[in-house]
């Protein structure tokens, strides 16, 4: 795949998604970065913003196996990963593995924070290793494998916040905001009429793997690596050089996965924009979705209404370009 094909493919995907998704260009860009990076995304937004539609549309455009799991408190790990069932074959009974909904290219974990931690942890191995182990038997998930989980930020009662280890496995945390007036009118126009979007398949799983391979070859200067490292280190209150704001409001900063995510996403963003190298500006642009869920704020920050985005913004502002 050439850089031009890379850019062209992404543009075509955008075009196809725009048939059903009005606005939300930044969200789509970040989702595409996730797809190319072979990362998982945590999408947070109030109900009715088209999260599920967006992810389902992506699977159609990219011809990916799609499965949706509605997370509820009574959902069990086996309901996700699959389980051994007793089957009778030619008079012999034997256990055979019945694959769960996780066996797909693109898994939509809807309202992931409503499941118990036990069930949530069932995703850990799948997200990190791309495998599922049941009864000491490991099964490989189809590649590329993506988990796009959604969260509802307003209904916190009866929810189980994702543990830090699980959050760290998500490449990006994408926030979906309300559409503006113009976009809202367009949404109303489309959804209340006989309008039906017919998607054209742009790419497939192999294309995504090729794109991922190309993106990994994007050269990055030492200074850009250093910049990413500085940002991640600055987010840690335990660091000697940490700033007062970080020490005051942050309990735990970003893990090394945060720096990896920064560089990976910066490479893809650069390539998506027709450039052949990643720059600091790319790092800055992807810093919020890659780091916001990796910063664990303390109680004082919650009381004062300080968000991770504000902390990251301060860090970037302080470091400059």
């Amino acid at each position: 795949m050439t850089p031009e094909e890379f850019t062209q493919t992404l543009e075509q995907i955008r075009y196809e998604l725009a048939k059903v998704i009005v606005g939300q260009e930044e969200v789509i860009s970040h989702l595409l970065i996730c797809l190319v990076a072979r990362g998982h995304a945590l999408i947070e937004g109030v109900p009715g913003l088209g999260k599920t539609l967006m992810i389902k549309s992506i699977s159609q455009v990219l011809d990916l196996q799609f499965s949706r799991i509605q997370f509820t408190p009574d959902l069990m790990p086996a309901d996700i990963t699959g389980t051994l069932v007793l089957q009778e074959d030619l008079g012999r009974r034997q256990f055979s593995f019945q694959q769960g909904p996780i066996f797909a290219h693109l898994v939509l974990a809807d309202e992931v924070n409503r499941a118990t931690p036990k069930t949530q942890s069932a995703l850990l191995e799948a997200m990190q290793e791309g495998t599922v182990t049941v009864a000491r038997q490991t099964y490989t998930l189809p590649q590329p494998f993506y988990v796009f989980a959604t969260e509802n930020p307003i209904e916190m009662e009866g929810t189980y916040p994702l543990p830090e280890a699980q959050l760290d496995r998500f490449l990006l945390k994408i926030l979906i905001d309300y559409p503006n007036d113009r976009q809202m009118i367009e949404v109303l126009s489309r959804t209340t009429s006989t309008y039906f979007a017919e998607f054209q398949r742009i790419a497939d799983a192999q294309t995504l793997l090729d794109m991922n391979h190309l993106a990994r070859e994007v050269p990055v200067a030492q200074a850009v690596y250093e910049y990413a490292t500085e940002i991640v280190e600055a987010s840690r209150p335990q660091q000697n050089k940490s700033w007062e704001t970080v020490r005051r409001f942050v309990r735990y900063g970003s893990s090394p996965r945060g720096a990896q995510a920064l560089i990976t996403c910066a490479k893809i963003r650069a390539l998506a924009q027709g450039r052949f190298h990643a720059s600091r500006e790319d790092i800055k642009q992807v810093a919020l979705p890659t780091l916001r869920h990796r910063l664990l704020l303390n109680y004082e920050a919650q009381v004062e209404g300080i968000t991770a985005d504000q902390i990251i913004g301060k860090i970037i502002e302080r470091l400059g370009v």
Partner: protein, 473 residues
Amino acid sequence: MNEEAIFFFCQNVARQARKQAVLLNSGTGLMISALSLVLLFWINKIFQLALPWPIYLLSIVPVAALMAWWPQRIPKPTYAIATADRHLGLNERLVTANEVLSHGQPFNILEQRLVTDTAQAIRELSPQRALPAPSIRLPAILLSATLVLFLVLPYLPSIPPARNAMLPQIESLLRQFEQLESPQTQTIRWKLLQAKRLIEQSRQMEAGQALEEAQVLTRQGLTADEQAQRMLGQTTSLEFLAGGLDGNQDLLQQLSSLTPAEQTRLATMLQNEMTKLPDGAIKTGLERLEKALRQKPGQVSSETKSLSEVIPLERALVRDLGQAVADWRSGENMTANAEAAAAAPAGTEVQPGSGLGTQGGVNRGQGEQQEGRGEYIQTPANGQETPASGFIYVPRDFRMSETSQPLVLPRIGEGQMQLVSEGESISEGSFTDYRDVLPAYERKASDQMVRQAFPPQLEDLVARYFQSLEQTP
């Protein structure tokens, strides 16, 4: 081709950064050195430290230190390239391409495209302008401003008033030495001329130093005879005359009672001094007095009276003439008094009687009111009492011969001069053995020297003088 373009561009940028660092360092060093040199110079001047010239070599230290340090300040090529990249708005393109090239081939497709893209981007750019100007603007401005301030300080507009105040005094002192011809006075005049020139150039500190040197030379270097001539060259006698005529009937009587020879000497002196006066009533009066002294001794009294009537009308002129003398006098009192103390017993007709003299009035020259008690010495010529305040020493009096002894006179001032005589006065022609008065005068001379600071040579001179008198059979 593209690789070479990037390579040479980066190399030029690194060279440019090196050159910039060297220029910046040497410029900073030179600026600091110049500033420290000027600072040392001014510190030396202001605090009168008389620093030896090797101390100025300290100003080389900043240059040497910065030159020794400058290799540390030269940015690494990678840093210079990163700076150029940022300055040119290439968004790390140049840096990345440079690093890709440094890793060497083979290049992947993205690296090849990056190199091509970067080569195109820098094609129109100049390595000389790739680096931003060093951010030394504020420190450089501050350093330059300080340097300029020190350099133009003497020429600031606030200086001329001080110059205007000093120049007349120096010119007055120069006039005092005009008639004196000796190697010592030539040195003093040269110093005064130097001070005048420095003041005209607004170099007050140096001028002050030259004046001080001239003053020291005047105090220590002039012989007694030169001191005397210097006094005669001033308007002291005229001042004395004016002050004395101003309501002092005794002096009128003195003038009237002068011998023909004394009158001739006074006339000669008046003739000399009249040449320095502007036209006016005093000059006319003095001319008439001089003529009377020469030709019609009988009219001296009347001319003196008419002159005494004129002088108060032009008192300012008289005071101005004496002002320079008064200024000089304040510095010369020590020497003069010591000489007076030493010379007083030399007159063979020194009187044992003593008196008290009080002087009230405002001294314009000093700008202060004075009132004091002083002793007076009777002159041997006619036994007339002449007030001796102890403040002013006039080495020669017009009534005295060339070898006569000095006369101590009161300082001129506004107001009435009152003489209060105490003790027995010695009539004209009476003699006292000098051995009777020698201890008293020796004690007075030593007291005088204890009260005020005198040059050691002068103290020795006084001591040797009294010893010689004691040894005289």
